[in-house]
């Protein structure tokens, strides 16, 4: 018969054992489950539905391939797909929901800077991880975000320099009215002036709106068709691009006299413009990216084939699609290096990763979490693909804050925009305001 003291000790011992087991099980619960959840957050409705579903497809393709090879750390990846509805607020809400309710270990996605900026506080507060696949305006550096797209010095600045080197010295800036085009055009302005060029006009159109005729008229009025010195710098996002190019062609603004250099127009948007069976095309216009489908390499040919086999032979690959695909593999490598799915630990290892992507070898910068990559410029051909006319001879170190101003000065510029737009990262036209 046990004494009361002995019984108490036994009970305490059993209690402690149960507690330790519980703690051990809860801390290892991730490793014991068969799957690990990841979020895929893109717009499947709204104006950005022209671009983002293809990026989600690339993410899902990489996940499918990794699962077919046995998963990561012995687990299958389970994608939880969410619709950002082309709305920054919805992106933030969905990010919060995916992390706190679904328990995802990483979120792949986002496109517009307005949506990314709305999501940043969520990721920073919850110390979570966003793998963001699109080029952007820079002027930002968050520990919780892995920026796979180009920083300004990997897309915007080389494109402006290339244009000036090729005799285009007068630029008309047109963009959607939100943070990316506004900030990108500030950078363009700085570098055009630095390199001895001139800005001849600037216009902004609210996201998802058609281009007003007076904007087109303004372009027609200021451009000089004869001297081959003018270029339109296009930072419009979404399906407004269709309207812009249609109206430019209707007003006889073509790629021979006044070509357009686009920063958000890829093969995917070209395919959709082309599919509308219109009487004009974008042949001869330019775009700056880090990847083009036409890139000639074994790795890229394989990637294009895999993408088309999975989603249809009429589908095309593009820079954000390729980045989204590579992002999943980089995350996988970081998870393996960390030996854990926990975002906090994965973040530590993400900065040491490199990957042989379809565009060539890329590295994640350990200091600013952006990606080292080559800059490329493509000219649109008759097949609505890009002929690569220039590429940097080396991988470019990502610099999120361009050198033309101090970091504080760039941050003040962004703050001013945010305040002017009524605590929003995009201009909200009065007709749309609630």
């Amino acid at each position: 018969m046990l004494s009361l003291k002995s019984k108490s000790k036994t009970l305490i011992g059993v209690g402690l054992f149960v507690l330790f087991q519980f703690l051990a099980n809860s801390s290892n619960s991730d490793l014991k489950a068969d799957t690990v959840k990841v979020g895929v957050l893109n717009s499947f409705t709204g104006t950005m539905a022209i671009s983002e579903p293809a990026v989600a497809d690339a993410t899902l393709l990489a996940i499918r391939q990794i699962n077919a090879e046995g998963g990561v750390l012995g687990k299958r990846i389970e994608p939880i797909i969410a619709d950002g509805e082309s709305s920054p607020d919805v992106f933030a809400e969905q990010a919060q929901r995916l992390i706190t309710e679904e328990g995802v270990k990483v979120i792949f996605g986002g496109w517009t800077s307005a949506s990314r900026k709305k999501m940043i506080p969520v990721f920073e507060k919850l110390n979570h991880l966003l793998v963001y696949p699109v080029q952007y305006e820079g002027l930002e550096q968050s520990r919780n975000i892995i920026y796979l797209g180009a920083a300004p010095n990997q897309q915007i600045i080389p494109a402006i320099k290339w244009a000036i080197d090729h005799g285009r010295t007068r630029f008309y800036l047109i963009g959607s009215d939100y943070v990316f085009p506004r900030a990108a055009n500030e950078i363009v302005r700085d570098y055009v002036e630095y390199l001895g060029g001139k800005i001849i006009g600037e216009s902004y159109i609210p996201l998802g709106h058609d281009v007003p005729q007076e904007v087109i008229q303004n372009i027609v009025d200021v451009i000089d068709r004869g001297n081959h010195t003018d270029m339109i710098v296009n930072t419009i996002n979404g399906d407004t691009n269709f309207d812009l190019f249609q109206k430019l062609r209707e007003n006889d603004v073509g790629s021979v006299d006044v070509p357009t250099m686009s920063f958000s127009l890829s093969e995917n948007e070209l395919r959709q413009i082309n599919s509308r069976a219109i009487g004009w095309n974008l042949e001869g216009d330019y775009a700056a990216w880090n990847y083009f489908q036409s890139l000639s390499s074994e790795a890229n040919n394989k990637f294009v084939k895999q993408y088309q086999d999975a989603f249809g032979s009429d589908r095309v690959t593009s820079d954000p699609i390729e980045s989204a695909y590579s992002g999943v593999y980089l995350w996988k490598n970081a998870v393996i290096a960390a030996g854990s799915f926990e975002p906090e630990r994965v973040l530590v290892w993400f900065g040491h990763q490199s990957f042989f992507a379809p565009q060539g070898k890329i590295y994640i910068d350990n200091v600013n979490h952006h990606t080292w990559k080559r800059a490329r410029i493509g000219r649109i051909n008759s097949n609505q693909q890009f002929e690569i006319v220039w590429e940097s001879e080396f991988l470019i170190h990502p610099v999120p804050f361009p050198y033309s101003r101090s970091r504080r000065s760039w941050e003040e510029l962004l703050k001013k925009m945010y305040v002017n737009w009524g605590s929003s990262w995009a201009f909200n036209p009065p007709a749309l305001q609630n």
Partner: protein
């Protein structure tokens, strides 16, 4: 992975092996010595001590010259590596100093390239050097630095400073190439064979010296073995300037960062 990453009892494995070596030598020499004495080989071989002594002197003398030559060469090479690093760092410092004459936008770019280069050399490239590796990113940053000068608008205004900066830039790339190229230069295998086989022969020969006191004989052989093995391990260590106990650290690069003004903010 660098061999220095392996640790045992709080010390790296190469260091541990080096520390254990004298004890191993004492044990092995003593063991062989006891066996040979038991078999009376030493007494029998010692009958022609005079002639034998002369042979040993010639052998040991020749071996000492070869060993000394090897040490001098690798020592000089090791010192050269430090000198190369010093020249690379000085050239980078000059570039940084000269950048102060440029407008702030260019100065920021030059500083950022130097900062990124130094961080990559210290954190990524240095651990790769022992295997003859290099950081491709560091090479790319240097190329980007060159473009700052070649793409500079209105560069005629700064032509003198640009010329000097390009001379310093060439010094950086030249010394970087030397550092990387020499990181995988190693003592030739044939020389290693001469050093090791020669050392073993000399040590074995000394077992057959005519020494009356067994204890003293054992002591002589042990000391000789230790000196030879330490000299060979010194050659090995100096021959691997980026690993082991006498490895060169990238400390000089840190000097650049301390003197740099932060223009980013």
């Amino acid at each position: 992975m660098n061999s220095d990453s392996f640790f045992l009892f709080g010390a790296s494995v190469p260091t541990l092996v080096l520390h254990m070596a004298p004890f191993v030598v004492v044990f092995v020499v003593g063991f062989i010595y006891v066996i040979l004495r038991r078999l009376s080989v030493i007494q029998r071989m010692s009958l022609n001590a005079g002639i034998y002594g002369n042979v040993i002197v010639v052998l040991a003398g020749t071996y000492s010259i070869v060993l000394g030559f090897a040490i001098i060469v690798v020592w000089g090479f090791h010192g050269k590596q430090i000198e190369v690093q010093s020249k690379e760092v000085s050239a980078l410092e000059n570039i940084e100093s000269l950048s102060r004459s440029f407008p702030i936008q260019i100065r920021r770019e030059i500083q950022d390239d130097i900062l990124t280069y130094v961080n990559l050399v210290q954190d990524v490239e240095w651990p790769l050097l022992d295997e003859g590796g290099q950081s491709e990113q560091a090479a790319d940053v240097l190329r980007a630095l060159l473009h700052v000068y070649t793409d500079m608008p209105g560069k005629e205004r700064y032509s003198t400073i640009i010329s000097q900066s390009l001379r310093d830039y060439n010094d950086v790339t030249h010394n970087r190439r030397l550092r990387i190229a020499s990181s995988y230069y190693r003592v030739d295998t044939k020389l290693w064979l001469v050093l090791i086989i020669g050392g073993i022969v000399i040590i074995l020969q000394s077992f057959f010296l005519d020494v009356k006191s067994g204890l003293f004989h054992w002591w002589l052989i042990t000391v000789q073995t230790m000196v030879i093995s330490l000299a060979i391990s010194l050659v090995y260590e100096l021959d691997h300037p980026y690993s082991g106990v006498v490895k060169i650290e990238p400390n000089q690069f840190s000097r650049i960062l301390t003197g740099m003004q932060d223009l980013r903010h």
